[in-house]
Symmetry: C2
Subunit: 129 residues, 2 copies
DNA sequence: TATAACTCCTGTAGTCGCTACAGGATCAAG
DNA sequence: CTTGATCCTGTAGCGACTACAGGAGTTATA
């Protein structure tokens, strides 16, 4: 059993974040030592690591929790997992598209904003009616 | 002079957001009618529209405010504008790259998660030590 | 003129996922 | 015995809104 600092190091989840997950019911409250300090099992730490990986993949915390629950249920519902993952991929693709359009717009706006312009064309465009 | 609802319609900035901008000092407090309602001039509305365009381009609000201030100063500092815009474009490019790597990772993880798998490979990977 | 429906006001709290304290208790090492 | 690390609870802050609650004033219709 490990103290929260060690659990943090082993899982890659920050101490404050671990306590936050507990408060929010993302992970169950761990055992406590007689001195009231939290004690984490290897299993608990595995759960935290699982959550960190989900977060690294950009899943919102609520979905990370769902995936965690799915991963701990007896009959792993691969179907549900895939559905969640695919909808997430779709979101990521959408966001990439949005940002690419943004980049194009910004490039165009700054293109004319080159050397020694008197009136700034970018500002002109932002001001226009 | 226009009431806040009309200013919202004309600028494309939500009513609550307009009041928020005022609270935060992003825009100056407008005139008030004798009945205490806010009154916006065409100029005020132009400012709001300017901010909306900056936000649409993904500038953080603080930078939007800086751009607005630059646009209203006597000698338009095109240099500063360009610097802000270029650093923002850089951020957008970085974010695009991150999301693309994310998408690749998710694609790889879900690739094996195809039809009728018994044990879900995605969960396996998330669980691994 | 009465009433309904709309718009506006202030102030506060919620969103998301942490992160950063404050103020204290406990523990390990020298 | 003291120093410094770690832990505890509880609360507030981040960014940029958004959504109320509870009230007041305005406009349109019957």
């Amino acid at each position: 059993m490990f103290a929260i600092g060690e659990a943090s190091r082993r899982s890659g989840v920050g101490i404050e974040t671990i306590r936050y997950y507990e408060r929010e019911g993302i992970v169950p409250a761990p055992e406590r030592a007689p001195n009231n300090r939290r004690l984490y099992s290897a299993n608990d730490i595995g759960r935290l690591r699982f959550l960190r990986r989900c977060r690294d993949l950009g899943f919102p915390l609520a979905h990370a929790k769902t995936l965690l629950d799915l991963s701990e249920s007896r009959h792993e519902d691969c179907q549900s997992v895939r559905k969640l993952a695919e909808s997430h991929i779709e979101n990521v693709r959408t966001k990439i598209g949005e940002l690419q359009r943004l980049e194009a717009a910004l490039n165009e706006l700054t293109a004319n904003c080159a050397v020694g312009n008197v009136a700034c064309p970018l500002l002109r465009r932002l001001q226009s009616d």
